[in-house]
Symmetry: C2
Subunit: 496 residues, 2 copies
């Protein structure tokens, strides 16, 4: 109940406008060099669209197509890109869930795709549908998220061909937030859209984006049918697509940062342009997921400076193209929710915010290079989102003159604690976290010497205990349940 | 021995030139507004120099002085500031220790002033001279520091009036690095300079800066005699001073970020100008230490967004004035080396680096709001320094064209692991940390399921076990020991 009241106190984050100017890693001339290299890759090497529909569409648009290899002129790419919106809204059945994703805004989405959880007892194990529901309950209750992750953790107790049904069901029932649907293949994407339409209505979704679809590339220089089918289903239903080349530095890109950026930018440009070919004005985000790879173990490494630099350049490119971009926040490779997890996550957060990323993906729970969704970390990250929001907004000069009067009043050697300006403004001036602990060592010992992981687990338990399902019309809920049951009868639970 | 070899592999950080452009929080017009507000504070309210020598010097310079209140015209302040160097070198008896502190460089100093350690068994207790020696041994061995912290932790087993002697002794014996001397009062500052001169020679120090002195202000708007005496001793000996207003947001500054900056900037400007009055061309750094204060407990809070924003604006101001600036890296309020410690530290690191801070102070070991020097965290932070160095340097285009040839060679759907470009460049392209762990979960379990704190404690033990004292002429060492003995006879161990 305490947790519920605390969550109520603070409404969910809405549109966050950046007040800071982004860190920039390359000069305008260097940015142009990377851009031109990307266009040269698309023109000279080309890119593979392993999908017959896309191939037909590119041919009709006048591209140079040989089998699945599509070679694109820069002019065609840029003409298509010019049709893309530089900002758009997402919303949901709760009308208070409405926010803008744009070139100058920041949004937070929960993590996705973990096959394991670190649960409320701190035990690492395969995740189930019950865990996914708990994760969605936490997402719904914590104010630090704009978008529910959809498949925050995998319900591994449900057959793979049925999973997308239960994932969407939980997103739509446990939360009333915009959420990530499933895009892996035509059927799953269409099921996702159909389930969204049951709850929101087709007409509402034709006018409003309530879902986002994650469309991953296959670096180097391949987009495959499974993903492109999902892209088309979402775009045709006026929902948002996130187009993400997947970079493992030095494994599927060159061992060079600017050349890695040039390649992933070529991949992104091809998919962004294709999306506008499918539907001019389609809502889309320049995505990418990048890690460098340990040359000792082959393992992906989080929070590395090369990825931080790469992110900032992607930001510069996205602003050049006028398209919102995403980065990955809160990622860590730690095997337990320890100091490593904190260092790596905060580097990812600050690197995304300082580069003015428009969508902070995986901003909650991501540990062990994405193999674990840590419930404790999710609570910590949700609070980090609120701190990062405040940083992103920058400084207000609204009370500057009044505050300078206080300086005059207090003078040398005084103190401000009792001053009228302080009493009026201290609550808004400085944020006060609840999970980060500022007790003295002695107070902290009296309270049980709890480390951050322990405090977060307790908080997560409180929140889940106090969770209340958001209202959903009974008839719609029954229709949704029936849809899942019907599709389970139609789809074989065995993978073909 | 492994640790020693690893430390040898990587030479100590030298001059680090920024390759990124800093994040900016306020517009040029807003920056000018803050600057003008600072000048108005100095002109209209004035600032107290509670020190007769400084008062005399300000009078002679033509300032408006009434008792200890000094009112300064903007023109006088800016004329004095124009005499300050925008960069300078620090060095030591080891000629390989030579680096530049400037407007476009980054340096790392170890933490200072903790009265407690969290030791190699993870136990928190009052720190001793043996701990300080261990901290200096770690500083000497780890490649991530430019400057030894001097009083990294307090030798609480030595009488306060004698401590500065033993602190300087350890800096000069355990390390051969530039280091922080003591500035609290004329005698301690003069002892520090005298001890430096024993080892380095007066003539060498007249030409080269080997020491830095930390000169703290007394916000709001006071500089006291103890600190100003230390300032003069260091500046007259051609050593560096770091001028630091000490901000507890909403306690000794207004509860408003830009007004807090205007006040601390006024304090800094007065001290920076005074330093140039004492000795034109004096080597100095625009410092400041800022935390916001919890309105629940009164405790200082680390890693808060307000301080991140404030830091970035200080960077903008310092660049306007042409003076290097410092920020605080690695600060945390955590009571144990847990995820909170990691989050808060990395926020401080990234905020300093993204704002292009020139001196990253307390970049190693700082926990519990500075009340603890954590030996494990010190090792973790030393590695973070190397990661942050790589970020700060930005992106090289040196191999860009060759790497793009690799893109052409590999084409769609291939992979780069065996490519000649990869084999030639992967080691330089991506940094490979040793303390951050990238094993798989299964490998990590086999290796003992060690969290970061445990891995760091083990590494610290290895390093201390393999430590070798840097060479120091026997006669000089004897002279240094004799100086300490003589001064201990002269100084009463009881505080007057």
């Amino acid at each position: 109940m305490v947790a519920a009241r605390e969550a109520e106190k603070r409404p969910r984050v809405s549109t966050i406008k950046y007040g800071i100017r982004p860190v920039e890693v390359v000069s305008p001339e260097q940015l142009e060099r990377i851009h031109q290299a990307s266009l040269a890759i698309l023109r000279e090497i080309g890119i593979e669209f392993r999908d017959e529909t896309a191939i037909r569409q590119w041919k009709e648009a006048g591209a140079d197509v040989k089998e699945h290899r599509v070679r694109l002129e820069g002019e065609m790419v840029m003409d298509l890109l010019a049709k893309a919106p530089s900002s758009f809204e997402m919303t949901s059945r709760d009308p208070s869930q409405r926010f803008e994703i744009g070139l100058d805004t920041m949004t937070f989405g929960a993590m996705q795709g973990a096959p394991n959880v670190r649960d409320l007892q701190g035990v690492r194990r395969a995740s189930t549908i019950a865990d996914l529901r708990d994760m969605n309950r936490l997402t719904q209750m914590l104010p630090g998220f704009h978008i529910a992750g959809g498949f925050t953790c995998e319900p591994t107790d449900i057959a793979v061909p049925w999973r997308h049904l239960h994932i969407n069901h939980s997103s739509l029932v446990e939360t009333n937030m915009p959420f990530f649907g499933l895009t892996t293949g035509r059927e799953r994407a269409e099921d996702s859209i159909a389930m969204g339409r049951i709850v929101h209505g087709k007409e509402f979704m034709d006018q409003n984006a309530v879902m986002m679809g994650h469309v991953s590339g296959n670096s180097p220089l391949v987009w495959d049918a499974t993903m492109l089918e999902g892209l088309r289903a979402f775009v045709e239903a006026n929902q948002v697509v996130l187009l993400s080349p997947f970079v493992l530095g030095a494994a599927n890109t060159p061992a060079d940062i600017p050349a890695t950026i040039a390649q992933l930018n070529a991949e992104a440009l091809a998919a962004l342009a294709y999306t506008q070919l499918v539907r001019p004005g389609a809502k889309m985000i320049y995505g990418q997921y990048s890690v460098s790879v340990s040359m000792r173990s082959g393992a992906p490494m989080s929070g590395m400076p090369e990825v931080t630099l790469l992110n900032a350049v992607i930001g510069q490119l996205a602003r050049r193209y006028g398209v919102p971009w995403r980065t990955t926040a809160s990622q860590s490779s730690a095997k337990t929710f320890d100091a490593q997890s904190g260092y790596e996550s905060a580097v990812a957060y600050m690197s995304g915010a300082s580069a003015c990323a428009n969508l902070m993906m995986h901003a909650g729970g991501w540990d062990e290079a994405g193999l674990v969704c840590c419930m404790a970390k999710f609570v910590a990250d949700a609070e980090q989102n609120l701190l990062i929001e405040k940083y992103a907004k920058g400084i207000s000069f609204e009370n500057f003159d009044d505050a300078l009067e206080a300086v005059r009043r207090i003078g040398p050697g005084g103190h401000y604690l009792g001053d009228s300006f302080t009493l009026k403004h201290f609550k808004d001036a400085f944020i006060a976290p609840e999970i980060l602990d500022y007790l003295s060592y002695e107070q902290w010992k009296v309270k049980g010497s709890k480390d951050m992981a322990q405090r977060c687990r307790e908080k997560a338990k409180d929140i889940i205990a106090s969770y209340e399902q958001p209202p959903l019309d009974v008839a719609l809920r029954e229709e949704l349940d029936a849809f899942v049951a019907k599709r389970q009868e139609e789809i074989s639970p065995s993978i073909a």
